[in-house]
Amino acid sequence: MWDYGEHALETARLRGATYADVRVMHLRQRDLTTKNGEVGTLGQHESIGLGIRVVANGAWGFASTDQLTREGVAGCAAQAVAIARSSALAKKENVQLSPEGTYVDSWVGPCHKDPFEIPLESQLDLLLAVDATMHKVKGVTLSETDMQFRKIDTWFASSARSKIHQRRVISGCGIVATAFQDDGIQKRSYPNSFGGQHVLGGYELIESMELLRHAARVGEEAVALHSAEQCPEKSGTLILCGSQLGLQIHESIGHPIELDRVLGQEANFAGTSFLTLDQLHKLRYASPIVNVVADARIAHGAGLGTFAYDDEGVPAQRIDVIKDGEFHGYLSSRETAHLIGLPRSGGTVRTEGWNRLPMIRMTNVSILPGQWTLENLIADTDDGILMDTNRSWSIDDRRYQFQFSTEIGWEIKGGKKTRMLKNPSYSGITTEFWNSCDAVCNADEWVLWGTPNCGKGQPMQVMGTGHGASPARFRNVTIGKAFAKQ
């Protein structure tokens, strides 16, 4: 693979590129699903190709090809240079890149049990057994399960002579029970909704999730929601479970700190950010107990945002995003870091595949654990609502105003979890919400959740991001607006 990369770099240099980096990527993916006791999707996907990014005439160009021959690769590199020259027609300034070292390295992410080596029968047997357990719960009208495995090899080379190979195996699984009655549709998911939990790792994730042990409960809760009371509309105390807090972090912290958004580069599609440059080190983003980092290092955990080098060849780093409640840092790239006075990129640039341009993406944007156990937190709450497992999420294009709903809620009265509530939702303004946080649970409750489906960019790229979170409490939150009388 290195030969293809080096040939592309050499062609770009000869054509006049002043900088180039190339990624040869080999992606393998397996998808398994079941529905109502039958196999749904059963497929495998393989894709291999090369993408090259160049600077010529001071402007960017990118081209990609699946023709892995010397001729195909050279043609692709020449096309990237020609595109860069046409970009220069509407150029205001020459592209500048923050300085970065040269690295020659190879890294393999954690994977104890290669999911592609696990017999397919055992994978399907597990999913079908879980499916059957959910479906036999009276009132469950739809039972679904899924597993997804990916193995991604990337060979990165740059005109600065870096050569880096990385292998990442990603595994995920989830189960869903849906109950339809005359009054509507209710569902419960485990371990998370919208595809479940995904991590950097192998089949050991699937085993650790104990899907079968949770199947009956998931089905029973989906049915029980129909008899539950409607979540009230009020202002009050909210406790979010870890997976929902992970998504809250993703939407109201992770996206606003992307420097390309802040600088207007996503204005037409994903949007901009309320975190304008004058807010850095000044904005009271959250209450003083809130500390958030963006950490791509394996030391933080094996998440979807974990790697050794980003797709610009910058080593993985930990960035303080919110420190004792104060806004401390953005997610940056080699092109944007110097614009805010940083000496180097924060190492957050990633690509979905060989045919997509690398761009700033969240790594593992996580809240650091606090002191509470969930049991003690509930005991300390006189009147509140506990919400678990996301059902819908939405936030404006500058990331101020959000609304989330969850699959299930529980009323807390006098320090005890009491009746089940259906259709829970909450909404607010990002900084007001985070400043109302008065408790974060401890490391025992902390999980590095995976969000496998984050969309950004044009053409759209889907990327996995990580979000470490434990349950947390918020005060004076607007609750129940989503289902307020229409």
Binding site: T41, L42, L89, A90, L142, G184, Q458, P459
Partner: protein, 466 residues
Amino acid sequence: MKPPPKHRISESKARQAAGLRPELELHQIAATVLRLAKQRGVPETEVHIDENIQALTRFANNTIHQHVAEHGVVVSIRTAADGRTARVTTNRVDEDSLRTAIEDCLSLAEHQPKDAKLLPMPGKQNYRRVRHFFPVTAGLTAEERARAVKNACEFAEKHGQVAAGIFSSGQQQSVLVNSRGLAAAYRQTHATFSITMQQDSAASWAKGNSGDVRQFDPAKLTQTASQNAARAQNPTELQPGHFTVILQPAAVLDLVGFLFYDFAATAVADKRSCFSGRVGQAILGRNITISDDVYHPLQLGAPFDGEGVSRQKVVLVDRGVVKGLVYSRRSAKQGGTKPTGHGFPLPNEYGEAPMNLVIEGGTMPVDEMVASTERGLLVTRLWYIREVDPYEKIMTGMTRDGLYLIEKGKIVGAARNFRFNQSILEMLRNVEQLGPVCRATGEEAFEMVVPPMKIRGFHFSEATKF
């Protein structure tokens, strides 16, 4: 609309620049797969080959900041034997790789339980012709896109505004064959110009999309976004509540587009559709008629589905009554009816969906809707729309890039953006006026043919800060 003459591209130049392989080459790859599978003794094989050439020029802060191109071929193989089927996809098209893909597919399939409901693959089909490939679009070059973008950026600078957006173009072809003699082929082009104009803290947006790049004019779209950004200044903060709204086509599309899967027979059978238990009922207004029609002149898309079955026009809602659903071969057999040509590639758990929705329009232009409104809001587009309640089809989302207050028949200024929580079913019972249809393009749903709508009682629940 046609672009100014200086941007026109000659047909001969376009043909030179077009880079898809001859269709015959794709058929040859497919024939290789069928031959290898037959040698291996596979009873039934399906091969779907897609070739894509895509390019996109992206701009922000009045300059090009991303500029990309890609070209790829993907071969997707499905084998079926003894009630077991699976799919393997690869972009390696040499004979050894295709042989490996077939083996992988057989291996996947043989390790699953037998599916008694698996149908034999369909035989030869007849297809209605569609013309969705325009050489002029296929021939659009990086430099031509860059020049159009440069014009837009210069226009923005001249008006004290900041432009961001894309100009993309592409071409694709598909070949679908199976071992029972089915053979289908399709090619299309597409182009999109989207622009956001920012002026101080306000913004507005315009977007065009077509198979034929001559059907929209980047300069006109730039002017529209610019004018609307200028009048989006100094927005008033209004109290949330129920408003009469006029939704521009992009706003209609992005909201109503969320209904598409509800029209799938499989979704209704699974009881996850908002039409479960409601087929045949008048649950929308009498002025609402919705069909799925790939042959509509403003639509793009192949005239066959994921199994190669010919797509039919289906009336889904007739004057407010949910009349029809779309069916794959499997769901049609279960429902005792005929397939409509809307199935997804097998195997899958979702069945089918209409991908070419057309909502019948009226005659009233948006300007006249505004003139007829005592108090209301004109909505440019909606953003981050998500489902809050699947059965009442309550959706939440935000207004974006231009929300304008109407009083006494005139636009009197801009309003701060709102969050809405609104049932689509209720909304489509409250449509007061419909405008002429267009090929609408947004960001939340795929392109459809829809009219602008004037709707009473649209529910805004909260406001944001801009």
